[in-house]
Symmetry: C2
Subunit: 247 residues, 2 copies
């Protein structure tokens, strides 16, 4: 679906920003970039700021007109700071990205970004079905072009991949978690140790053990951690036995 | 709450990135910036990229150690690309920002960003309660420092202000929407016009009018738009009357 979303930059002034856009796109898995009459392109500044996303730059299609850039696109969204003079269907970056992600299942979606200083012209706005607005400080609302593309591209990825992508792919570590049996054996060992060292007595240990379990259950112990803790218990008991035999 | 969130940059190499961070912060309403041993600062590059957020730069506290930067902070989150070797409590940028926003109601929260090339050291990670991970293309996962701060700052603002900030503050335009009565009068005028010009006949107009209403109800007409459309209807009828009288 991300391959059905095209980023279009209209008359960008600073080539470094084009490079930053390419990097932001590749970071988020977008690839289709069109540039309408960029002031300077290609450029060493763009390549340097792309920082490894050169492929996006070399595949970028440079167009003379917005019409050319919009070819094949079904839905057009324009990124824009709040405009008070024109009423236009406006979506937040979050909601707009959700709509774009949905539409991109079957249609080609274009997201259009304007000039660094003056944004989109009225003629360009006329081509947009929706305006996208990034919520921001109303007293300082002009985002850098690369930063604006970064936020929208991030929201697009979140919308397409689902917000729990991280949770799904997050690996705790190479070490496996302890099984329920291992944890039970651990608690048994802990309780026995607490008796052995004289910290508590069998008839008084119930509420203490409940607290201990609440603590360790929260952290979801790994096998290796259990081994280490049980090693410590064993050492504690040994120490106690030695000190007893010293008496 | 945003004033209780501090951004800390550890040993930043490129001063331009510090400027980009300042701009991203101000865009999203953050103000508290600390720099741990930046390579070059202050710098004209930083000021230029800050692009009006110079206040954040001049108020930024330069620290020799992370300890100094973390003073007063209760919760520390480290922004980090995925690490496969260490198991660490990890949150997505979205969930982490929600937690930070919640905690910032009562506590000082620090968000720590590492070096451009090598991220955070193990000693710095040890100070973090959570790692923040921005979901991204696993084959190209290194975001520019300014871009990473932009995404996190954006999520912080969304979390603090609520995702419907846009909806709340969005003004359609200065023009008020039409009242239900005005819309009814408009539909009456439309229907009459369609008869007058011979487009349909009273006994056949029901399904046509239903289509028309479905269309116009979707756009939620403004008063001024209704006036314009009714002006057009009047003109159509006039034209028809004229052409009839010409016969």
């Amino acid at each position: 679906m991300l391959s059905n979303i095209r980023i279009i930059l209209a008359e960008t002034t600073h080539p470094g920003n084009i490079g930053a856009v390419a990097r932001a796109m590749k970071n988020m898995g977008l690839h289709d970039l069109r540039l309408v009459s960029p002031k300077i392109f290609p450029s060493a500044d763009a390549t340097s700021r792309a920082s490894g996303a050169d492929g996006i730059l070399s595949n970028a299609v440079v167009c003379d007109t917005l019409d050319e850039a919009l070819i094949d696109c079904d839905l057009v969204m324009g990124a824009s700071a709040r405009r008070r003079t024109i009423s236009w269907p406006e979506l937040s970056s979050h909601d707009g990205a959700k709509l774009a992600a949905k539409e991109s299942q079957e249609a080609k979606v274009a997201i259009l970004f304007g000039r660094e200083n003056s944004g989109l012209t009225n003629e360009e706005l006329d081509r947009c079905h929706y305006l996208l607005h990034i919520p921001c400080n109303p007293d300082f609302s002009s985002l850098n072009l690369g930063a604006a593309v970064q936020v929208i591209a991030y929201e697009l990825r979140m919308a397409v991949m689902g917000s729990d992508e991280v949770v799904k792919t997050a690996k705790r570590s190479e070490d496996r978690l302890s099984t329920a049996n291992e944890i039970e054996a651990f608690y048994g060992h802990l309780e026995q140790t607490l008796y052995d060292i004289g910290f508590t007595q069998p008839e008084r240990s119930r509420s203490l053990m409940r607290r201990m379990k609440r603590l360790y259950n929260r952290v979801r112990l790994e096998k290796k951690e259990v081994d280490i803790l049980r090693g410590i218990f064993s050492m504690m008991k040994e120490k106690k036995d030695i000190s007893r035999s010293d008496r």
